[in-house]
């Protein structure tokens, strides 16, 4: 078995998540259960080895909380938008498939952006081009080029928010330059 050893620090988010799931399922956050959960998490992570997710090495909680709140609001807006479109427009709704090139090339950020995009109003990832990190997005109720541009800007903004939360330092500085210029 030739596997790259992954450091404990790199694995830590996964382990913490597994412990949280374990304790949540038992509905018991006592020290004994926490310890046993950590043991099981380590055994599981060692036995069922998966390629490690390459994290950017930073996580900005101050940015994450507002992002999560905005995300929640957008989920609510998305549902009501679908309800409105279904009732008011129905079969006459127009949509489009749009290519959006992303800034980041890290798998984690592309995945996270794709997930968030799929849940915010009017967009859904149809296809991902990993080599150029381009998302092909199906937008509902996109009638003309202006709507398409708006959707594209939405997606880019979402990605910018995610980069600010957990992108690498280089990505953040590139983003700052882009915004500043």
């Amino acid at each position: 078995m030739n596997r790259k050893r992954i450091s404990l620090r790199q694995e830590l988010p996964l382990l913490v998540w597994l412990v949280i799931v374990w304790c949540a399922l038992w509905q018991d956050f006592g020290p004994g259960n926490l310890l046993f959960g950590a043991l099981i998490a380590i055994v599981v992570a060692r036995l069922f080895y998966l390629p490690p997710v390459e994290l950017g090495g930073r996580f900005n909680v101050l940015r994450a909380v507002p992002f999560a709140l905005v995300f929640l609001a957008k989920v609510v807006a998305a549902s009501f938008q679908v309800l409105y479109l279904a009732v008011a427009k129905g079969p006459r709704v127009l949509s489009a498939v749009i290519a959006v090139p992303l800034r980041s090339h890290s798998d984690l950020l592309v995945t996270a952006t794709g997930h968030v995009i799929s849940l915010i109003p009017g967009s859904l990832v149809v296809e991902v081009d990993r080599s150029t990190s381009t998302l092909y997005i199906h937008g509902v109720n996109v009638r003309d080029a202006a709507d398409a541009a708006k959707l594209r800007k939405d997606v880019r903004d979402t990605e910018a928010g995610l980069i600010r939360i957990m992108g690498t330092k280089e990505e953040v500085s590139a983003l700052k330059q882009e915004v500043g210029s």
Binding site: S79, L83, S95, A96, G114
Partner: protein, 134 residues
């Protein structure tokens, strides 16, 4: 708890009742969307988004009704799993739908993937470009 007729208990009950009714309405929204949207990809929007919000509201209602802090982690974990799985399955179905040409081209105002797909298909030398079913 309060001397007023509106006790905290009643407020929680009312909030969770509203959550439950709205959550059920979200399921109805998904059904209406499924019935009324013209093509597969628009129906995917209807199938995914209201489900996520509906489950969020209903799980919150469960949490409020249980009146116990220890159920919230389970509910949050259940919702996060939903958040992680719904876009994946939606993407898989959407991708399969696009590739098998389940689109109504006249309902799209623009399609920037088509050129890429056709370019790739030409490079592969396949000639099944005319078949675009409905």
């Amino acid at each position: 708890m309060n001397p007023e007729p509106f006790s905290a208990d009643m407020v929680i009950d009312a909030v969770s009742a509203v959550f439950m009714v709205v959550g059920a309405l979200m399921s109805l929204a998904a059904a209406v969307g499924l019935l009324r949207f013209p093509d597969l990809l628009s129906r995917m929007h209807a199938a995914t988004k209201p489900q996520v919000l509906g489950l969020f509201l209903l799980l919150s209602a469960v949490g409020l009704q249980m009146r116990s802090l220890w159920v919230w982690p389970v509910l949050v974990v259940a919702w996060i799993f939903q958040l992680l799985t719904v876009p994946v399955s939606a993407h898989m179905v959407g991708r399969a739908g696009y590739r098998t040409k389940h689109l109504h081209r006249e309902r799209l105002s623009s399609d920037e993937l088509e050129a890429v797909v056709q370019h790739a298909a030409r490079k592969r030398g396949s000639t099944d470009e005319e078949q675009r079913g409905g």
